[in-house]
Subunit: 369 residues, 2 copies
DNA sequence: TGCACTTTGGCAACAGCGTTGCTTAAGTGG
DNA sequence: CCACTTAAGCAACGCTGTTGCCAAAGTGCA
């Protein structure tokens, strides 16, 4: 359940869905081999009987099924339970600078289908919404027209910020002033007659990476044509009240440094991309590492994941360079185990998959934060 | 309730205490004038009847009492409810470099008594624990020996980090290696036979400031002999898994800048305090503002509060200087309303009061994060 | 092959939560 | 004085997780 803000009173209905979501989340983490009722009971702190009742409900709803038995330990063997992949689907749309990537995920988060299309933001809102709607329709078409089709929970859309994920409104699309303040979520929702959720690309990526990992905190640093971050704190994507969190590119790491396109001076993004343009990848990694170290120290992050086209152009050097800075900083602070740096897994569909996870998340108790 | 980690299953007992805590939190926010049952129902989302039952329990527990009636709006006037201040107390201890400050708070967070004592960390753990225990005993003595005395929930201790608030163990006390790894919480708890909670001074300050404000996110920047931060995200103190969050002083804002005592270069703390030492307060404020702007952008913070002896020496210039940097950054990013900067309220007892709040917080549903 | 033992997991009864429907209490206003 | 309005408790209820019990389904030794 959630924070102590307004309307956080919990009645029996809320309790039920909370516990059901908790069980679903553990089932999702368990993956195809499944998890037994007694393990669920142990991990939730609920009694085995409560878990039996909850899983019985989930089974009769078609979300969960039995999946064989485990080896006996001297008595009746435990029955494994697992998610029914086809019980729910979600579409994820990644609107990037020049192309649109779409994925269709099942309940377990596995990609069922993918699509790509060219994207021209200059064509205006109506055209883009139309294209997106057509692509979503075509993608969902693989499910046929029966129950599978109606299992689509909705569409998640991820794109570069700034935007407002609460209201689903774009604030600004650099280079295309006609998009200022466009209510993309509602426009697409009306067109598709499906729930739509809008979020920043970096947040979607972070959510995609957070799925399948328990609790923990990490930062996803995306270095492509720009530099941004997605933050996961205690297992939840941290967006801030205005979806502004993760603005990492214009962190100043060199007071009165070289000017940046944003009007500031000494921004990480400018220093980083400038170095890359000069072919000084190691220097770029060192700058990125400095920003990452600031972030890690400020938030006590467990893990740093790197991604984006620029990183992908020389992944090892970036990972090594950032790691070196973090290690040095950790050693100075007397921390025993430095924060690990890794290349973000997931490949080119990471953002689209994360966008789809925006709709799956509520099922598994990951509230929108 | 909390995150989806382990043991987050919610049974009826947990539900009851959650809703009770929610009601208590609203009663605390309402302060002396109190709040009516129907308002509580509206704000919690529970039915009036549920609130009646919950408040009846709280009244029979002695935590809540009726406090007059509101003006009628044409029918039976609503009855206001308020906390019973004396129903619970908590002691807060602030261990600073050279002195120890203690406060005794009642359930509403009001200071009932205060004490000060000299502190010599060089005297060793046993001596300090002894002094602290005596001071706590003397402070609690004002409650007499009856029910009031037994209403003391425990003792919160706040001191400079690094430390581990989960295990209540100090990691390092700069200048006094004999304190490395000292289990202060357990030592004091055994001595006092009371629950003890340990946290960083900046976190305690942030908690103290968070009490009485709803939801929201803010950063408390403390500039004294060092520079640290306390972060409150969505109404909860963000500590990180290792109580490391808020390490703000050694954020690098000038790559390869002047060396800092920590071994790094271009840390905010070194630049800031260096400027202050040179009498360049405006420059110090500008540097602090740069770090603050980084933090605000990264986390989408609503408010920045400044405190600490150095800030107190020229508060207006610091507030103005930091505000200028934040405003400029906000304007560049096209944000309509810049993040406000204010002097932290609360005075010299802020940290000690926050330390005491560490024990009151669970009653009001503010889980330890 | 049979029986004792272990372990799983459903059934039934139960306590306790918030909810609903209703009644009583305590005001206002004509 | 009485009709009306609003607050808040009482009683019955549905639903939650819990407890106690028992059938089901294995293992392992005689």
């Amino acid at each position: 359940m959630n924070r102590t803000n307004a309307g956080a009173g919990v009645n029996l209905l809320a309790l039920r869905s909370h516990n059901a979501a908790l069980v679903l989340e553990l089932l999702r983490l368990a993956g195809p081999p499944g998890i037994t009722r007694l393990e669920l009971a142990e991990r939730t702190g609920l009694t085995p009987q409560a878990v039996s009742k909850i899983t019985a409900r989930l089974r009769s709803d078609g979300l969960v099924t039995e999946a064989g038995r485990q080896a006996s330990t001297g008595g009746k063997p435990r029955t494994a339970l697992r998610l029914v992949p086809g019980a729910g689907h979600a579409v994820g749309v990644h609107l990037d600078r020049d192309e649109m990537r779409l994925v269709l995920l099942d309940l377990t988060g596995a990609a069922v289908a993918e699509r790509r299309a060219a994207l021209d933001l200059g064509a205006g809102a109506a055209a883009v919404v139309g294209t997106a709607a057509r692509e979503v329709g075509a993608l969902a078409g693989v499910l046929g027209e029966g129950a599978a089709r109606s299992s689509v929970l909705g569409v998640g859309v991820a794109m570069p910020g700034p935007l407002d994920h609460v209201h689903g409104v774009l604030q600004r699309v650099t280079g295309f002033p006609e998009w200022d303040g466009f209510p993309l979520r509602d426009a697409l929702a009306r067109r598709l007659d499906l729930p739509v959720v809008l979020d920043k690309d970096t947040n979607a990526a972070a959510l995609g990476l957070a799925v399948g990992s328990e609790g923990g905190s990490f930062a996803y640093l995306h270095l492509g044509t720009g530099l941004g971050a997605g933050l996961v704190l205690n297992g939840a994507v941290h967006r801030g009240a205005r979806t502004g969190a993760g603005e990492f590119g214009h962190q100043v790491v060199q007071l009165d440094g070289p000017p940046c396109g944003c009007g500031g001076r000494g921004c990480v993004e400018a220093l980083c991309l400038g170095a890359v343009a000069r072919g000084a990848v190691d220097e770029a990694a060192r700058v990125l590492g400095t920003g990452a170290a600031n972030l890690v120290a400020l938030l006590d992050i467990d893990l740093v994941l790197l991604g984006g086209r620029t990183v992908a152009s020389d992944p090892d050097r970036f990972v090594r360079g950032v790691g070196t800075v973090l290690d040095a900083r950790a050693r100075r602070e007397g921390v025993c185990s430095p924060v690990p740096v890794r290349l973000a897994p997931g490949g080119p569909h990471l953002v689209a998959e994360g966008a789809a996870q925006l709709l799956l998340a509520p099922l598994f108790g990951r509230a929108e934060g």
